[in-house]
Amino acid sequence: MSTMTVNGCPAALPDDPDALLIDVIRDRLNLTGTKLVCGSGVCGACTVLLDGQPVVSCLLPAQAAAGKTLTTIEAIGSAGLHPIQKAFMAHDALQCGFCTPGFVVEATAFHDRWRATRGSGIPSREDIAAALSGHLCRCGAYDGIFRAVAEACAGRFDGNAPIAPRLEARDKVTGLARYTVDIRHDGQLEGVILRSRVAHAKIVGLDLAAARAMAGVAAAVSLLADDGMVRFVGAPIAAVAAKDRRTALQALAAIKFACEKLPAVIGLDAARQENAPVVFDRANRKRAGNVSEGGGGPAPWNGNVRGPSAPFSQKAKRAKGWLTDARAAHDPLLVEETFRVSTQQHACLEPHAAVARFAGDQLTVHISTQAVHETMEKIAKRYNLAHDKVQVIADHVGGGFGSKGSLGVETIAAIELARAAKAPVRVVFDREEELSVTGYRPAAELKLSLLPSAQGDLKALSLTAHADTGAATNSLIAGLARLIYPAEAKELVDFDVLSNLPPGAPFRGPGGPPMAFALEQAVDEAALRLKIDPIQLRKRWDPDPNRQRLYDWAAGLDVWKNRRAPSSQSGRYRRGVGMASGYWLYLWQTGSSVELAIKGGRIIASCAVQDIGTGTRSVIANTIAKAFDLEPQDIEVRIGHSNLPRGPGSGGSRVTASVVPPTLLAIEKLKAEIERTAARPPQPGSNAPWRELVAASPDLVVSAKRQHDNKPPLGVRSPLRQAGFMGLVFSWILRTFNHVVVGAGVPSSVQVMEVEVDTWLGHVRVLNAYTGLAIGKLAAPSLARSQAAGAVIQGIGYALYEARETDPSTGHVLSSGMEDYRIPGIADMPRLDVHFDEAGFDHVPGGSVGVGEVATVPTSPAIANAIRAAIGVRLTEIPFRPDRLAAALKGRDAA
């Protein structure tokens, strides 16, 4: 048996030639700071130092490390933080933290090499981007990473550890933060899922006996629905738990069943054809998944097409009539275009994962989830358990973006296998599962007509969206165009087009980016035809007070004022500046509760909320610290456990606006209790009287529930109240069934993008991004900036690179690895200017609303408008890949 040296200690290497170094590190040595993400050498999360060189441990045969020295994240900073770690903490160069250990390992090697050869010279963005080009971050922490690496190399973090704006930053830069995939109980088994390899079939005669009988197999359970149907490639059939993953996979092969294949239909165009096979017949329609965060209204079905759904239309017939007339009259102001958006995968770096354990009748499930409390309730309901018998835990979550909000098959499989095996079971999706069956933002075809009046007002708008929802319904894209740019009449119609593809899921501002992609390009086009500055046209058409202020900010930017006339360039490289606007709803969850306690002179805040990289801990800690003259690090924040006071889910950008107000209420209560119970008042003239009182306080507990907002100023209303009767109906549905209130005021974003197009190689680069945000006061400013930066880079991915690709006949997802599903890298991050306008939400206690979704809505149309300005061609289909640029520049249709 050969050995290697790991972090200074000898370690044996397995003889198995197929054992990979990552598996030895994580599973045998239990060094879980090193993460497995792509498994194909693309993302760098598994990076370790082998004889001092950064290498990917996911591709390296374990035996290749024989006789070598291995350094993992656990050894970096173990004897005092490395300057890179301190810089990452100080610059908030991380969000969910799942990619962070890989980045830190690589960056420390770069830093040490740089300083050995270059002294204290500062590396350029290009130097840093090249060095870190083998790493991917889905949250998009690149902006902070650039700053952190440059400043660490310049020697600015050689001293003491800085105060990190993110409360848990130290755990994330040292690899100590434990995610669901890192959980390891004694006797834990590994669960894997048998999935359909055909797109449409009835499964009969499922026989698990042979699998159960195999050595090392502890349980096998069926995951089939009662109708035995599979409606997409990857639909779950059964699950197996065994002593290790390899044994479990072998057992899958022993499961017997017959597959009665049915005709399948794949994708938006095929599913709309006359004689297309039907995915859900009338009796089974309720089995379809849901691509939205809330419930939807009823809608008619016609084959695979569900719709029209048009609750937010306004004088639709009149809009139609005016548009027909304008078309007949060849009105030069009539803008008509068909846009297409691609399917965007969440591509969370931590895959969907769950670890279930029963202790007597007590069920504990670690889940990579966006909703610990709600998931606990769903598990309790599904398995008929009392709430106090189910505990859901998510201490750290490696990204979610909307895909981890529901009770997923990973959790169901883990629970059912653990129950059958009478042992803890972990189910972790592999990358193929993660990039095919965990949901996505549906592709869509968007037909838009926009008609300005002769006076230059917005007269009529028609938007019809057909969304490629797979085995799911409830897309809302066109309807979202009701809440911006009031017009005399609007026809807004949504259709779901179902096919034998995996179901879509909510994704960061569901429906928002596709709607904006079409509408904001049409407004840009209208401005060109009206010969008016696009910002000035929006100022005229869009009365929202938050965006009015942002338009003024954008109009004042030098990059906007100095932009070149559209289509004025002819060289190889052409630059253009474009802008777009976006909004999202301000949501908060009723019943959200925060408990504050003083224990041993220290404040402890508790809430059954979770942090998916967004900064929940810091938002709570900052709010409390400010009130008691303390530092955020002085506050202990307990979240991520469902048995804490009920907290909101991380969806709909609702967390900040749900937890800050009750925290403020609880602070008032705690202060009153402290004063009531204080043995003596603070020293006269103390500059931190509350800090003294807390330190001297007896143990106390108070709690508070989310209160109502204050009365907003005149003219500031819930946007749904501007959407007629159906707006009120939706408000009621959201409040009653989703415990969500749509508050007054509209979180808004205006973005300006400068791009450069290489017309020879069809390459688009975003050079500079300016994002203006009106989301009220910042509860955690550095983290709000990180969210804004991450939203922009994710929007750049949507605009330029990302598309799920499928096989048109079998329905296999082809882009199921991270080399073929292309998320942006650090070199794709533009220089970024973030502007926060903190007015507009003073009626919200604390004044803060969420940022995550609104900040990504306008990015893709702003880039499209910038490309239009650069090359004089409007590209109507994203992503704007080289194949599409090449075709557009040649005046050809892209494939």
Partner: protein, 305 residues
């Protein structure tokens, strides 16, 4: 495992495993393995005539960082610097880069049959071939994945195996007509070293790939260009493109058009127009010809500058 049993069992050689490990994990490759990382040749040796002999197990990073390579074979150095990611380049070997299997998403999917595994036809041809070939030479439509093969073809390199000497890159990879194979090595045959002729006096070279992001992406199209320019005229020109065919392709028509011509914009523009001669794009790959022309023009201009 003996060579004879390797042949009998269709075992695969494993160098650093940067290609093979993923296929082993997914189940696309499941036969016996024979590890060669600790037993093969690595390092770069220079002959008195200035020719280089590179051990097959030399890492891509070592080639990318070698100052002598950068001076003598700048097109190869740039190719090595441009492929994969830094962490993969630290592991991956030159021999492994030449002998790697296709990156086609049908081939890599363990649940789909194709010519390269079990199947009798190419599912990408009738399916989704967005990253497929634009020069349709055989029954498989996946481009050859080896960036180094294109560079070595441009440098007229020879390959030595444990069985044969003096293989050209064309001998090694075939003509692209056999969709079942990624190379023409016999079972049990292993690349041991690569021999490059001495560089020509005054020659220059450049390499570039067209991709959608900035870094770390398999090339949509890539070109390695090499030229000796004397008295303001192109003397020797080698243009090799990858990403467009089942094997790296010499752009012979371009090369011929440039030979003896003044190294100026007009000659380059004329040659660029010949880059796509003989192309047979698939329904989804016509764009690759635009990118090919763009790359050829870009590289020739930089060489002539």
């Amino acid at each position: 495992m003996s060579i004879a049993s390797v042949i009998a069992s269709a075992a695969e050689f494993r160098a650093a495993g940067t290609d093979l490990s993923e296929r082993r994990r997914s189940g696309v490759s499941a036969g016996p393995l024979i590890d060669i990382l600790s037993s093969g040749e690595s390092g770069i040796a220079w002959g008195v005539d200035g020719a280089a002999t590179i051990g097959a197990l030399t890492t891509i990073a070592a080639i990318a960082a070698d100052a002598h390579v950068a001076a003598a074979y700048p097109g190869m150095a740039a190719s090595a610097q441009g492929l994969a990611t830094p962490q993969v380049r630290h592991l991956a070997t030159l021999g492994g880069n030449l002998a790697q299997r296709s990156r086609c998403w049908y081939f890599r999917n363990p649940h789909i049959d194709c010519l390269k595994k079990r199947g009798s036809e190419c599912p990408a041809r009738s399916g989704n071939h967005l990253y497929g070939v634009a020069f349709d030479l055989g029954d498989c439509v996946a481009p050859h994945p080896s960036t180094m093969a294109a560079a070595l073809l441009a440098y007229d390199a020879h390959v030595v195996t444990n069985r044969r000497d003096g293989l050209t890159i064309v001998d090694l990879l075939g003509d692209g007509s056999n969709g079942r194979a990624d190379h023409a090595l016999a079972p049990g045959e292993m690349i041991t070293k690569i021999v490059l002729p001495a560089p020509l006096a005054g020659e220059r070279a450049a390499y570039k790939r067209a991709i959608s992001r900035t870094y770390a992406e398999w090339p949509l199209v890539e070109v390695c260009a090499r030229a000796a320019i004397a008295d303001g005229k192109f003397q020797v020109v080698r243009l090799v493109a990858g990403g467009i065919a089942a094997v790296p392709l010499r752009l012979s028509a371009c090369e011929r058009a440039l030979h003896g011509k003044a190294a100026n914009e007009a000659a380059i523009a004329e040659a660029t127009r010949l880059a796509a001669i003989g192309a047979k794009p698939l329904p989804m790959t016509a764009y690759k010809l635009d990118l090919l022309e763009g790359l050829v023009r870009d590289l020739l201009e930089s060489l002539a500058a």
